[in-house]
Assembly symmetry: C2
Homo-oligomer: 221 residues x 2
């Protein structure tokens, strides 16, 4: 994975970051993801540092702007979720089972944490982000279309419906690191999925939405 880029190159100009520096940066991002999930992206810097087992200065050195940190976390989280979607599509033959697996897997990754991040305060149009979002949408859209074409998923729902409901249902209650809650969430996700299954049991108002619709609608600012 990590190519030996700066190995033979003149290392004097950019002497390659130290090993522990990279490790620390990684620990920070992980800690931040966990904290964001639980307390939202406004959580104090010092707390994140403590959770990461790092001095706060290290945190400020790596991410001078909070924006940078949020950006990094969102990116990393989206990548994980995308991978869950791709693995589900690949390894699950039954189309609806694939959808189930993705949903529960995404819940385990705490997609719900993406929600509070939409509270402004970070660049939604950054190229990296758009790229990652497109990858995610493509992967999930694939799951949805396959299930719909197989007649297993009702056709009046879209990726947006799935993602938003998924996010909402898995959003952590602030404070309580309740253990029993997790099991509870799985029940709700499964119930929601049952509602998604074809044939449709009711008629929905409005129309199915894509991720693009979401991004546009959610922030009229």
């Amino acid at each position: 994975m990590t190519s030996t880029v700066a190995d033979s190159a003149p290392a004097r100009r950019v002497p390659r970051p130290r090993a522990d520096a990279l490790r620390n940066r990684e620990r920070i991002v992980t800690a931040a993801r966990e904290m964001f999930v639980e307390f939202g992206s406004q959580v104090p810097y010092d707390e994140i540092a403590r959770r990461a087992g790092v001095g706060n200065a290290t945190l400020y050195r790596n991410f001078p702007e909070r924006t940078d940190l949020v950006h990094e976390v969102v990116l990393s989280l989206m990548a994980r979720v995308t991978e869950v979607a791709e693995r589900a599509a690949e390894e699950e033959s039954d189309t609806f089972a694939a959808l189930r697996r993705f949903t529960l897997g995404a819940a385990d990754e705490r997609v719900g944490a993406l929600c509070p991040m939409l509270d402004g305060a970070f660049d939604k149009d950054h190229p990296d982000l758009v790229a990652e979002r497109d990858r995610l949408e493509e992967a999930v859209q694939g799951l949805v279309e396959r299930a719909q074409q197989a007649g297993r998923l009702r056709t009046d729902v879209g990726v947006g419906d799935l993602m938003v409901a998924l996010s909402q249902l898995t959003r952590p209650l602030p404070g309580s690191g309740c253990a029993a809650f997790d099991q509870f969430v799985r029940r709700h996700l499964l119930l929601f999925l049952d509602g998604l299954e074809a044939p449709a049991r009711s008629e929905l108002p409005g129309k199915a939405a894509t991720l693009e619709d979401l991004r546009r609608d959610s922030c009229p600012s």
Copy 2:
């Protein structure tokens, strides 16, 4: 409603509050409910006062402790939701339709706002609160049982499942007062309800929970 308690009594000791004072108190509670729904119970006192069209001093005079205000708001919100449940049971002959009506009605009242209030910081065991919670549980439990006995609602779900999922799905995204989002929420609620309908399309892990279970589990503190 308001009995003339202090009318003939020696009014010197407690000379009955002035009319505008009562009106102001009411406006404050209303404003607080709206603000809590949108921004959580931590919203600055001054903001609430401004929204209520009152000086901040009036707010502090009426609710010296934030706890008091939260308590009042929760109570008022629960009462509204209970009423929705009772009206639904009473006026809707079809048992599942009653459940639908309650769910959508409760969403309109913004039950989701109750969630962030569980972030500690207020007395869960206050007699008034317990009483109101029991009334609410009884009303909703009635809806659930009727639908289950009629064979319209799957039997592996309980009041707790409905209430928590309902709260989660309707929780407002902090910041954006997005208009389109509301319509979106209705879609998700209807999908979830479809999942609740009998016959069950999947097998759920764990077991159905009551409100009492919720209260106990959610705060191991």
